[in-house]
């Protein structure tokens, strides 16, 4: 994998993770801009995401649900704060009820994505994710665990082994 650095600011409850991909900026941007590609990586293999709305415009919304092994659905939403294709976007994301309506009692995370060319064929992506409070972060991660995210680590190995790519 291509994680270059991870910085955490405990006081600000902020994570900044810098990674590099062997592809041009336009290609990496597609994993955000194309809902079918976003579905391929947002949820873990056990809980794949289905993107319903996908409006990458300021104030636009992205809605999705993840489907678990028993068919159970977990809904989520983003509100796009700003977007600058193909260089990045800022969005808030949170949980939604079974009808897909945002559940504003649950905490919201703010995430910033910055893409830049590190060379002609390589892209640096910086993800900055911040929480409003310790309680909010705990709640989000507990919900994430419910969606099987923490199991993904083991499953990804199987997928990579079976991918047969070079």
């Amino acid at each position: 994998m291509t994680v270059m650095s991870v910085e955490t600011d405990v006081e600000a409850l902020e994570l900044r993770i810098t990674s590099e991909f062997a592809a041009p900026v336009d290609r990496v941007w597609q994993v955000w801009a194309d809902p079918r590609q976003l579905e391929r990586w947002w949820g873990p293999p056990s809980h794949p995401a289905t993107v319903v709305d996908h409006e990458l415009t300021p104030g636009g919304k992205v809605t999705y649900f993840m489907t678990g092994p028993e068919g159970e659905r977990y809904h989520g939403w983003w509100r796009v704060v700003s977007v600058d294709p193909p260089h990045g976007l800022v969005f808030e994301d949170g949980f939604a009820d079974d009808g897909g309506e945002p559940d504003l009692d649950l905490p919201v995370t703010t995430t910033r994505v910055d893409l830049s060319a590190s060379s002609q064929e390589r892209t640096t992506m910086v993800i900055t994710s911040a929480f409003g409070s310790l309680e909010a972060m705990q709640q989000v991660l507990e919900m994430g665990a419910a969606e099987g995210m923490s199991q993904a680590l083991g499953q990804i190995d199987g997928i990579l082994d079976g991918s047969g790519q070079d």
Binding site: M1, T2, V3, V6, T8, V10, E11, L13, L15, I17, S19, F21, A22, A23, R27, V28, Q30, V31, D34, R36, Q37, R40, W41, W42, P44, M125, I127, S129, L134, M137, Q138, L141, G144, M149, S150, A152, L153, I156, I159, L160, S163, Q165
Partner: protein, 115 residues
Amino acid sequence: MVVDLPTGEQADLIFRALADSTRRDIVRRSTGGDLSVSALAREYPISTTAVQKHVAVLERAGLVERTRRGREQLVQSRIETITRARELLDELEALWRDRLDRIDELVDSNEGAEQ
């Protein structure tokens, strides 16, 4: 328990704050959060003003925080909060590392790329 060490200025403040045995003791005693500065002062053969100064040094290092209750100043250790925040940030990091692995795979395979 693994504790990541902070770097730079914050680390200087923390190490300096914890270099003194009275201050280390104040951090230990203040985990409950209900000890006042004057109650702490009774535990040591030093003045309340001297205890205030120690607490101020710990506060600058982010190791304790002071809250007011009426005329009293209560001292609360932040060690558990900091440890918990670190654990949660580690979990968040794991979540994003998984996602980045999947993005990497997607970009590498060039599946779903524009036809």
